[in-house]
């Protein structure tokens, strides 16, 4: 059921993307310009964006984040999310064997397609996934042009 998000057209896109990511690592991301608001891989929280003709869905994988601590705002097609994930066990004397989970504040800005309607946004949180749905504006219908 995640097929549509994990690949556009079967395996080919995945393979291409994997290759691209490897190249990114090898060449230090220098061979291709990065999006100006793009972030380094592994930045918290991971984000997926999916679109249909009617809407754009943004998924933030924010496990363990209190949804009330999230601040979400949209200006035209620019979606901004701020939040914080509490630090766990600061008092621990023996320390961690592993400390891989992110803690602290985060800030992410996502550029959505130009035709989204900033007045029609909904957000829901479940099992650590925040889903923000933005409706697209009514598409202008194709018009027949006659030659005189």
């Amino acid at each position: 059921m995640f097929r549509h998000l994990s690949s556009l057209e079967g395996n080919l896109f995945d393979d291409y993307r994997r290759m691209e990511q490897q190249l990114d690592r090898i060449f230090g991301e220098a061979y291709m310009p990065n999006g100006i608001r793009s972030v380094a891989r592994g930045t918290f929280p991971p984000i997926n964006i999916g679109g249909t003709q009617d809407q754009v869905d943004v998924y933030l994988f924010v496990a363990g984040v209190d949804p009330k601590s999230l601040s979400i705002s949209i200006q035209q097609n620019l979606l901004t999310i701020d939040g914080e994930r509490a630090t766990h066990r600061d008092d621990l004397s023996s320390g961690y064997y592993r400390h891989e989970r992110f803690s602290g504040t985060f800030h992410r800005v996502v550029t959505l397609p130009d035709d989204v309607d900033p007045d029609r946004v909904e957000a829901g949180y479940r099992d650590g996934v925040l889903r923000i749905t933005v409706q697209r504006r009514e598409a202008t219908k194709p018009r027949q042009i006659e030659v005189n």
Binding site: H4, L5, S6, P46, F61, G64, L92, R98, R101
Partner: protein, 127 residues
């Protein structure tokens, strides 16, 4: 049609197995035992499986992401819905008494030490 769906589901299964997400974890120890926290956003209690077989701890989960029909990817950091990670335990840990809790996509797993391994205060007698 139904057949086609089956085939693509199987293909998807295979791909999921290849590309499971390795969830980030925190692991720390106190006197009573080991505590492990794992980020598994999208996983509900029904789709989480924790197995302790002898000295191997295996954590597996499947994320359920609600999606609109006909959705196409515009951008994706996350490429799989399956989480998997395993650890080897040492013998002083009592897997049978492990205690798991899942909240907002974070798994907290506590594995206590066997009673005889819990630290005991030793008093020095003065003769």
């Amino acid at each position: 049609m139904a057949n086609d769906n089956n085939v693509s589901e199987n293909k998807q299964e295979l791909r999921d197995q290849e590309s499971a997400i390795r969830p980030p974890v925190d692991i720390f120890e106190d006197e009573s035992g080991i505590t492990l926290l794992a980020d598994m956003p999208g996983v509900s209690r029904e789709r989480l499986e924790i197995e302790i077989d002898k000295d191997t701890l295996s954590i597996e989960g499947k994320a359920e992401i609600p999606m609109a029909e006909g959705m196409a990817a515009l951008y994706a950091d996350v490429h799989s819905t399956r989480y998997h990670r395993s650890f080897s335990l040492s013998s002083e840990l009592d897997g049978e008494k492990a205690n798991a809790n899942l909240k907002d996509g974070v798994l907290t797993l506590q594995i206590p030490k066997r009673a005889q391994y819990q630290p005991r205060k030793i008093e020095v007698r003065i003769e």
